[in-house]
Amino acid sequence: MLEQFLAELKRAWIQFRRYPGEAIGGIFIITSVFYGLFLSAKYIAGPGLNFGDRLDAVIVGYGLWTLVTFVLFDIAGNLQSEAQTGTLEQLFLSPWRASRVFLLRAIANLFVQMLLLSCIVTLIMTLTGRFLSFPITLILPLFAVLLGAYGLSFAMGALSLLLKRVQQIIAIVQFTLLFLLTAPTEEWTGVGRIVGFLLPMSGGAGVLRDLMARGGDLDWGRLGLALLNGVVYFSLGLGLFGWAERYAKRWGKLSGY
């Protein structure tokens, strides 16, 4: 398992190093979009504006959005491009379960992506002059969010196995995502509270916002719920992926027929 993870990491790293243009272009676009939004908000609101911890929360949300977007489309994007280039079937020829191969690969890609994300967040923090805190406990809610993200990623992967083309869906999902990660579901009451708990990733994102932007302490109860939520979405995603794999083998669709 470790061997395979290292092999995936090496592969991800080589591809990044050999073709850095795409990744660096990505950093540039993501950062400038944020900065553009920030400047125009500032311009509209006038010089007296003080975003305060709202801005910090927005930065956290934006960083998280970038990260989760990446995770979410990683498996589906991989499946799709490998079906086109013809390596997909070779992956399914391995003695491991396909879901294991894709999960290890997605995590390896995430490591490389984390590197880029730290550049983005550092850039944004320098540009806006707001510095977030990075307590070590942030790993826990981040983990909860990522669990959910990988679950949805497997679900998207399942879709792309079945449909082969997922571009159209990507745009829709991406903005739903922005909502999920920035909606203050922790402030919702009544039915909203239950809905907020059921939505994927938003609970974990809330805990993360508290930790990083508001400098609050870790709320173990909410964290527990967020983790539970993550585990459920992760299992659902895996299940869906396994089903799609069987379907694809039944109808000879692995190679993009």
Partner: protein, 314 residues
């Protein structure tokens, strides 16, 4: 089905396929892509799958590799079922149709290491196996060039090397010489022979009948999903060659020609065609002491056989 598999390397059964069935639905119609395909393969044996486009070759191969689930029938690789026991796939290496089968942004060496680990080797073993294969396939000088920059022939060699990296017993090659030039085709043919000689079982599909004729111990001719004929390549060619001889004379006088025709041979200018071996000596007696320029046996080749079997079936 009669088993014709007499492998060169003893009789270790590598693959057993029994009654494979596969139908696909396209809109409202069902097409039977593969119908009761059965075969077996021993160590060291090369079996060529021949058939027109859409005959079901690729579908059959993918069912053997566990990539397409059969509607019926069974596949056993060294006794294990690739559809149920994923570890069985350690014994399988495949280069699939028209695909690249490789990461174009990685070098041959990196591809070999990556796929070696994916097939269950440790990174260290994968690396050393990879280096061995690169040496053997005369690719060492290209081991640090990204695959994208290699010629089509070299890419195919790398793909075959990758299929071998984990030392599998069964090799599936779907159109391994597709799009290769004469020289690259020769190299691939040589490699296939070598790989088989190491005691692996190989199934390959091809549209190049000369390739099948040279490489295979047995051929299976498949048409509209069914195997219409399976036999040892040499036997099949012999069976279809009949006993046709051609005797070319320097000069063939009218009177002699008439005698020859009366015996049952055909005459065309100075050439006598003898349809059966038994007649040959009678014909030679008649033409004595005329000058014979050549006597030759007309070999049928797989192309003729293939056309006859496949078209006869329509």
């Amino acid at each position: 089905m009669i088993s014709l598999g007499v492998g060169k390397m003893g009789d270790q059964q590598i693959l057993q396929v029994e009654g494979l069935e596969k139908s696909y639905r396209i809109k409202k119609d069902w097409i039977r892509a593969v119908r009761s395909v059965s075969l077996d393969l021993s160590a060291g044996e090369v079996l060529a799958f021949l058939g027109p486009n859409g005959a079901g070759k690729t579908t059959s191969i993918k069912m053997m590799a566990g990539l397409v689930r059969p509607d019926g029938g069974k596949v056993r690789i060294l006794g294990g079922d690739p559809h149920r026991e994923a570890p069985v796939l350690r014994h399988v290496g495949a280069v699939l149709e028209g695909n690249r089968n490789l990461y174009w942004r990685l070098t041959p060496e990196e591809n070999l290491e990556y796929f070696g680990v994916l097939r269950g080797l440790s990174r260290r073993v994968a690396r050393s196996r990879g280096r061995e294969l690169l040496d053997r396939f005369e690719l060492s000088h290209k081991r640090n060039a990204v695959v994208q920059q290699l010629s089509r022939g070299m890419q195919q060699k790398v793909a075959i090397a990758v299929a071998l990296v984990h030392d599998p017993k069964l090799i599936l090659l779907d159109e391994p010489t597709l799009g290769l030039d004469v020289e690259a085709t020769m190299v691939v043919k040589r490699l296939v022979r070598e790989i088989a000689a190491e005691g692996r079982g190989i199934i390959l599909t091809t549209h190049q009948l000369d390739v099948a004729e040279e490489l295979s111990d047995r051929v299976a001719i498949i048409n509209q999903g069914s195997i219409v004929r399976m036999a040892r390549t040499q036997d099949l060619i012999a069976a279809f060659s009949g006993g046709l001889y051609e005797v070319v004379m320097e000069d063939l006088p009218e009177a002699i020609a008439e005698k020859v025709v009366a015996l049952g041979a055909l005459v065309e200018g100075n050439t006598i065609r003898v349809p059966e071996t038994d007649l040959l000596y009678g014909v030679l007696d008649i033409v004595r002491p005329g000058v014979i320029l050549s006597v030759s046996r007309q070999q049928a080749n797989l192309t003729d056989i293939f056309l006859e079997l496949v078209q006869g079936d329509r």
